[in-house]
Amino acid sequence: MGAGSASKQGESTTIQPPLPMELQGQIGQRLREAYNELISEPVPDRFVQLLQQLKTRESQNSDEGQGSDP
């Protein structure tokens, strides 16, 4: 599969030489720096609550008739 099937997207008609390792390293480092900054942001409550809701809804569905009070 992997070899030469790039033409599927019609975007690599010209061959671009790979970057020197040193430059790849510099780019990679900055990318990870920027990305890690984003990753280290605290998770907003809305996501914790959302998953809690999904779980609650699921267990209600599986309990079906077992009436739970409001």
Binding site: S5, L19, F47
Partner: protein
């Protein structure tokens, strides 16, 4: 008694920081990024049947997120052409981040990449997925992924002025992307 829902809840919460970082980097809009993450979590939860046990959950989540992003993008483009202009103005970096210039420049340069390039560079360069995994996630051929990653790196090097004597051919498409802003790319 094991309760799969508990495990899943924990796993999904654990993936949120990465999903947010990916979504944010991809669309450049924190509010929209969080909506994307929310959609991804709901879809993951409700489509758990289609997740193959033993395969990579994170890769699966990233696949859902990027598919959601790109299908929304196609829809939006059909609906509101004008939105491109408004979005383009918003592509600037968040003002209150006390990061050094290098990083600000980097983010600016990153914002000018095409969505295709951003996506693979994030998956491979930032998340550490293999080329094969990135190909699986994006639905592109491995060769395509490799060439996109390389193009992304070359474009970044160029706009950061890092190139060392290397002569990269000028790329009119690239300049077009810069002009259009990040949501204007195909």
């Amino acid at each position: 008694m094991t309760r799969p829902a508990d495990d899943l809840q924990t796993l999904l919460i654990g993936a949120v920081p990465n999903l947010r970082a990916f979504a944010n980097s991809l669309c450049g809009d924190p509010t929209r990024a969080d909506d994307l993450v929310q959609d991804t979590l709901v879809k993951a939860w409700t489509n758990l049947d289609s997740f193959e046990k033993g395969s990579n959950l994170k890769a699966w989540l990233f696949t859902i997120l990027r598919n959601t992003y790109f299908s929304e993008l196609r829809k939006r483009r059909r609906e509101v052409e004008d939105a491109d202009n408004a979005m383009a103005e918003r592509m600037s970096i968040l003002p209150d981040q006390q990061v050094h210039m290098d990083l600000i420049d980097f983010k600016k340069a990153f914002g000018t990449l095409s969505d295709d390039q951003k996506e693979v560079l994030l998956l491979v360069g930032a998340e550490g997925f293999s080329y094969e995994e990135a190909a699986e996630i994006t639905g592109a051929a491995v060769g395509t992924v490799k060439s996109r990653v390389n193009r992304a790196r070359v474009a970044l090097t160029k706009s950061l002025g890092l190139e060392s004597g290397e002569d990269f051919t000028s790329n009119t498409e690239f300049m077009g992307l810069v002009r259009m802003g990040q949501t204007g790319v195909r």
